[in-house]
């Protein structure tokens, strides 16, 4: 089981790094935001795995169930998902304005227009 657990975490880290790489290396602003989302989602997986118990039911009380998984990470991640979508919305709004005032959403183009960006 522990081997499987480690395998889980390794994939989460892979996803995290794929997201982070997308954020840092893409020049397109929309792509950056997608990357941010991927990055954050993989962190959410990590949290939920922290609260997972083998054979534990979802934390909704039911007859005859004694083992529940940990509700606290779920609560935290609910909040974090909301934060993520809020950031996404503001980021996309900024992207629209950047497109309207610079005519491009490619970081390279923006940099060419104004080296200080």
């Amino acid at each position: 089981m522990s081997g499987l657990g480690i395998w889980n975490y390794v994939i989460f880290i892979f996803l995290m790094m794929a997201g982070l790489y997308m954020v840092i290396s893409s020049t397109n602003l929309v792509k950056k935001i997608i990357g941010l989302n991927v990055f954050q989602t993989s962190v959410f997986f990590m949290y939920i795995s922290f609260g997972y118990i083998d054979g534990g039911a979802g934390p909704v009380l039911a007859e005859g169930v004694t083992l529940y998984s940990n509700p606290l990470p779920h609560v935290l991640i609910l909040t974090a998902i909301v934060v993520g979508v809020a950031t996404t919305a503001v980021g996309l709004a900024l992207t629209i304005r950047i497109k309207e005032s610079f005519g491009s959403i490619e970081e390279d183009d923006l940099h060419k227009m104004d080296p200080s960006i």
Binding site: G58, V60, L78, V82, A89, L92, A93, I96
Partner: protein, 140 residues
Amino acid sequence: MNDHLILRVVGKFLIPYVMLFGLYVQFHGDFGPGGGFQAGVIFASGFVIYTLLFGLRSTQQIVSEGFLRVISASGVLIYAGVGVASMLMGGEFLNYNVLAANPIAGQHIGIMVIEFGVGLTVASTMTLLLMMFAERGLPS
């Protein structure tokens, strides 16, 4: 989407059920998965479908942006208001126990009202977000 007649008909038919489902999720959140946030998003998707099928202007005739802003702010105020009420009634901020004679009843009232506040803010803000994004996309 005038040329997608079938889509329009089916979509229009589904919208009330989607919103009903949103209400179900809102008030069933105590017993199963769901709650104010999810309900708000689902309720907002009713407006999303309408906007997609019939255009932004039609949606704006149903709900104005100003109205949505009021709702969005009032959700926050309702939530914080529960906290203030519990402070005024002698408990800590957001201590629902003091809201009723019996702590359990107080918790029920508190959770119900704040979930309602969450639902209001989320539903209105999500609709508002979509409307603002769609507005920018229309040819001016």
